[in-house]
Symmetry: C2
Subunit: 797 residues, 2 copies
Amino acid sequence: MADQLTADSEYTDAELELDLRWWAAANYLTVAQIYLQDNSLLREPLRPEHIKPRLLGHWGTSPGLSMIYTLLNRHIRRTGSDWLYLTGPGHGGPALVASTYLEGTYSEVYPDVSPDAAGIHRLCRQFSTPGGIPSHVSVQTPGSIHEGGELGYALAHAAGAAFDHPDLLVACVIGDGEAETGPLSGSWKLPAFLDPARDGAVVPILHLNGAKIAGPTVYGRSRDTDIEAFLTGQGWAPILVEGDDPHTVFRELESALGVAHREITRIQGAARAGETPDHYRWPAIVLRTPKGWTGPHIVDGKLVEGTFRSHQVPLSGVRTNEAHLHQLEQWLRSYGPDTLFDENGALAPELAALAPEGDKRMGSSPYANGGRLRAELPIPDLSRYEVEIEKPGAAFHETTRVLGELMRDLYRETTTEDGGGTFRLFCPDETNSNRLGAVFEATDRCWQLPTTEYDEALSPHGRVMEVLSEHLCEGWLEGYLLTGRHGIFASYEAFAMVAASMIIQHTKWLQHATELPWRAPVSSLNILLTSTCWRNDHNGFSHQGPGMIDSVTLLAPDVVRVWLPPDSNTLLSISDHCLRSTDRVNLIVVDKQPHLQYLTLAEANEHCAAGASVWQWAGTEETVGGDGPDVVLAAAGDVPTQELLAAAQLLRDWTPDLVTRVVNVVDLMGLLPPADHPHGFAEEKFAELFTEDTDVIFAFHGYSRAVHELLHGRPDPGRFHVRGFSEQGTTTTPFDMVVLNRMSRYHLVIEALRRSRRAPDGAEELAAHCRDQLERHRTYVVEHLEDMPEVRDWVWS
Amino acid sequence: MADQLTADSEYTDAELELDLRWWAAANYLTVAQIYLQDNSLLREPLRPEHIKPRLLGHWGTSPGLSMIYTLLNRHIRRTGSDWLYLTGPGHGGPALVASTYLEGTYSEVYPDVSPDAAGIHRLCRQFSTPGGIPSHVSVQTPGSIHEGGELGYALAHAAGAAFDHPDLLVACVIGDGEAETGPLSGSWKLPAFLDPARDGAVVPILHLNGAKIAGPTVYGRSRDTDIEAFLTGQGWAPILVEGDDPHTVFRELESALGVAHREITRIQGAARAGETPDHYRWPAIVLRTPKGWTGPHIVDGKLVEGTFRSHQVPLSGVRTNEAHLHQLEQWLRSYGPDTLFDENGALAPELAALAPEGDKRMGSSPYANGGRLRAELPIPDLSRYEVEIEKPGAAFHETTRVLGELMRDLYRETTTEDGGGTFRLFCPDETNSNRLGAVFEATDRCWQLPTTEYDEALSPHGRVMEVLSEHLCEGWLEGYLLTGRHGIFASYEAFAMVAASMIIQHTKWLQHATELPWRAPVSSLNILLTSTCWRNDHNGFSHQGPGMIDSVTLLAPDVVRVWLPPDSNTLLSISDHCLRSTDRVNLIVVDKQPHLQYLTLAEANEHCAAGASVWQWAGTEETVGGDGPDVVLAAAGDVPTQELLAAAQLLRDWTPDLVTRVVNVVDLMGLLPPADHPHGFAEEKFAELFTEDTDVIFAFHGYSRAVHELLHGRPDPGRFHVRGFSEQGTTTTPFDMVVLNRMSRYHLVIEALRRSRRAPDGAEELAAHCRDQLERHRTYVVEHLEDMPEVRDWVWS
């Protein structure tokens, strides 16, 4: 391939003319999709009734997107290389639909959009209409792993696709609007993390068409020298292509792609030969072309081409304004549809021949349908990591450590010969802090910048991705998963919210992906939320927020799962399940600090499979008997479980004839009615856990009303009395956190006694004891500044 | 001032020595806060019992922060200028507490932390302990408008502070960890938006100490030339200061501050003289100093100073490890506490004299306590904007237009002589799209880059802030508000989620700010969510997400308000309320497309003050009579209100003897029990609206369970049957959106008939009619691709 690339592969005039015709076909179909409900090949004069009643779509970015596609096709045919096309300006949907239609993929995926006049008719009608296809490049678009609706993530997704795919090239078109976002701005740091020896390459194409919806863009109005400095300073070697004459721009872009590819081959070649390519920079293309290029230049006396006015539908009055209709017909005919499609509506054979073949077509690339590449993870026998349990609640363990060990072995098991693999951990500089450091026994942090002798676990071929950006971690992982691999995003619980909108958008993607039979299932997005609100007592209020749970619970029930393992062995069991699952978003919420451990691995497996269980050993139903519990004590989450069990113990000790039942919930979505979520506990099971009428004291990891939200539709949900995080926090002790939020064992006991079916002997004394303990704590907090006692670990006092 | 600055203001050796001693005092107090619970002035040999039982705090960044503070103090005294200090690395809390203590502010704000030995004792004890102060620079820290817990927003906050404060200089320290985040990376675009004629200046100080918690930073390991290129390309003129010898670094940084200020004065001077400073670049300081500078160099044989190991507590075993204790004592004594503080513990007078005076002290700056600067907004008489209502629901109007007109006049009313003002709109390139374009009658978009003849409403002195970044819009506005001004952030509803974590953090800030009597109230954070899920039928699923509501409803009840105005006049009334309010986060959710209008301004004022009202004209209680309604029909939000009213009309027409009551909810938090939220409707009022036992059909703008979440604790909440957004969407028609989500008028009627206390005459016919209409719609959607009818506006069919 290198030979082909370094050869003077001349771009002949004949080739150029063919490419311009292909481009014309793509542009024609783009405009036709936006405007035409009939006469889609313009076989008769254009009349108002041919025009869709509602004009939706984005013309402005489309010609640029199609030009890039055209020239990548040529480049692929010439080099035989594998490219993925990432459309940052995803609102240019009709352009990508047109290109994948012209190359044949679209009709293969959607046979009713056939490669003929009937297919073109349908292609146009379905666009942006009810029951048809969305206006954006979306999950429905073949070849896409990226919806450009919420802007900012194109380059992060592209990077994730390239990691560990040494032979892949990712063309990532970045609109100059998107380039203003924070996440995209942060994504330019990729050269510090992309390993030329093991990863594929990303070719950013910063497309400066100069305008957003209603105004100019920062980079569009910046000088070339400034943009060059900006990119150079971050490890890129910019190649500028600019113009408004298609012949010139096509030649320059064709050449730029060749130059970029040759430089990538040189860099990767050196790295793969064991050399360290010193001070290299990755090629990046800066492409300045007019917005709405080849569209109406002036409409109603106002400049449209090259300005923000071409962003969406440049001629809006075509159904009623004869001049507009005429201008549209001129515009459409300027592409010469009769010369592009034969009488049956098939693309002219000399144009059809321009597309790459089979899976080399970007719309058909298996990289863009990652489930086709995905292999099951070889998950080791979990018993290797089991935490020994002599009896429940007898020993502390940093719960997340076992997951670090499991991931270490996943790295080992999946490492390929070239040093790559199919599993990665993404974490904002917190791998050790989150007690996942065992992974560094298997690999290092990934780092392409200089290292020093005092660095630890840091190397260019390391594959743990640490960057202080939740956006990058999440975006990289999404790209990695959508191209067929496995991974985990681990974050401080509070700061996962930074990426909440990305997680929501990914959930939306999966929701619609599962409706498309041609999309093979991809690995689930597994998110470990640790350093949780209850145990960020050292960092304070900004670090204390469990709201990520609330951001996902009401999204697609077929996608979303929320797991609250109370200890290490349940975390192992949950992780195993999540890592095997596909097309899900799994939130796993568990703290990293030393916590009490309860279940053996076998018990944990059973508990997790059930989603929630009665913990007989913690309640008094078996010992005291009676006709069901006087009160049910339930918990979801590690700290809540600990406080609840302490409450249960206090009740056992002080009110021994009270009948309590202790329930632990690990699968939060089980609380939803089964009609509303596939994991919703069946009615009978729900009643077996919580009865149908007994009051339930529920200690919950997150905001208490999040539980009430889920319980609606269950029998008498008003009997659930939930204690959870109530947005109280600061730098303090763990025990003070549960007191501040009124979820301490003492609060739970007082509430349980208040709600119990009957008042047991000893109730008054116990309530008094609890109030006394809380009073003692209050005194201790208020007075300690004057006379500071030992700040003891009150966790299990 | 310019004269003073351009003079060769020599930095004498004596001054340098004094500054180094001040710095030593700040470093001493920083270490003492982290370690000491007693013997805080080291008047006796250090013993284990002097050490806090739990060591919390971040040493690594602190000496750098204190050095900058020291030299800014000198600079302020020399120039008389006003500076604000933004601490990006907010975990360096003890450093800022130390500096504001040394300058005297701290004791003025917190008199029990007096400027003597007792005060130092308390200063140390309170740090990071229960009942004391948080470990971060936080709302409790005088001089701060920024909590650096969730990283990424320092430069955006700094920019917001500088807008329209022509005499203010903002020193913004950016850690090289934070510099990896997306939002911070995007913030470097500030020069495209900062007007030298009207705004103050921001001096970013990119502090490269090279390491994060556990590894190196991208910029820390990048070459100077790369960083220079990166910054230069974005409009900055970097000044590099590097070293590990304090004498050298102090001299260089002192000089750099002078150079920066002189250049700022030159740029602003030209601009304010009416010249256009061409191709200027704003000074930015790049400061490379060792992490944990002056701290333990080697601990247990491992290099600590200058590495990630100094991030938090570099000597962790001091209570039990004698060598560590000895090393700590050496470290503390290296600062010479006896030479810094007199026998009473007061700072040596020659050092105390180094602080600026009064409000020039950065801890005392009124800019950092913006409520002190805040003036009430001169809100015009709302009747100017009133939309005329002949009868309810008779005419369409783009609801948000009136807010654009109101904001236009707010711009006009608050414009100052220099072209600045105290009100701004922040919006990601959507001002026109969101129908707020009337503001451009008063001012332009702010734009410092080149303009062209076809630009619209774009100029260097424009004050509408449009940048395609929700992070920047939100962060700029936060900085603007916290320094005493007013504003609105307007966003597409779905993409406000991009900034959700910022909004949550700001809510936390306000929650604690209101507990501090010395913090004067600031204007509320007003967020307009428009282009809502129901009417993003053109953009598709990525643009359809009402989850922002769920991200805030469970936060501090004293801060959070969610408003769902159904029409223009209610929007006016709500906006007036929100713009007058302080210390709140107001979410206002309303769409921009043409919607039916219902209430006159007088009615709207009454309705909004009540939070929810019975709309008698829409129900049949008055006409049919009876003992209360058979069913209550409630709605919150514009589209739900429309569908609900259509349902009420169908019921009136087909089942005339059914007694319906129509309730409209505009203040969502009113649904919460009054014990849980100050706006929670009193029990009687709640019953007057919804009865205590009648079933309620509730059409809701957001996810339906979000309403159930709020209703817990209300009488028989199970009788509320909520229809809302159920995460169904695509590019389609508005009516198809309400059908897909089962909130259409027909769905509401069917549900109302099912839940009604009794079956009225005509019920079966009406239900059949509704099912038929839905079937017709389904047919229409499925079949239209074959035989496309007019896509009529089904909104009010």
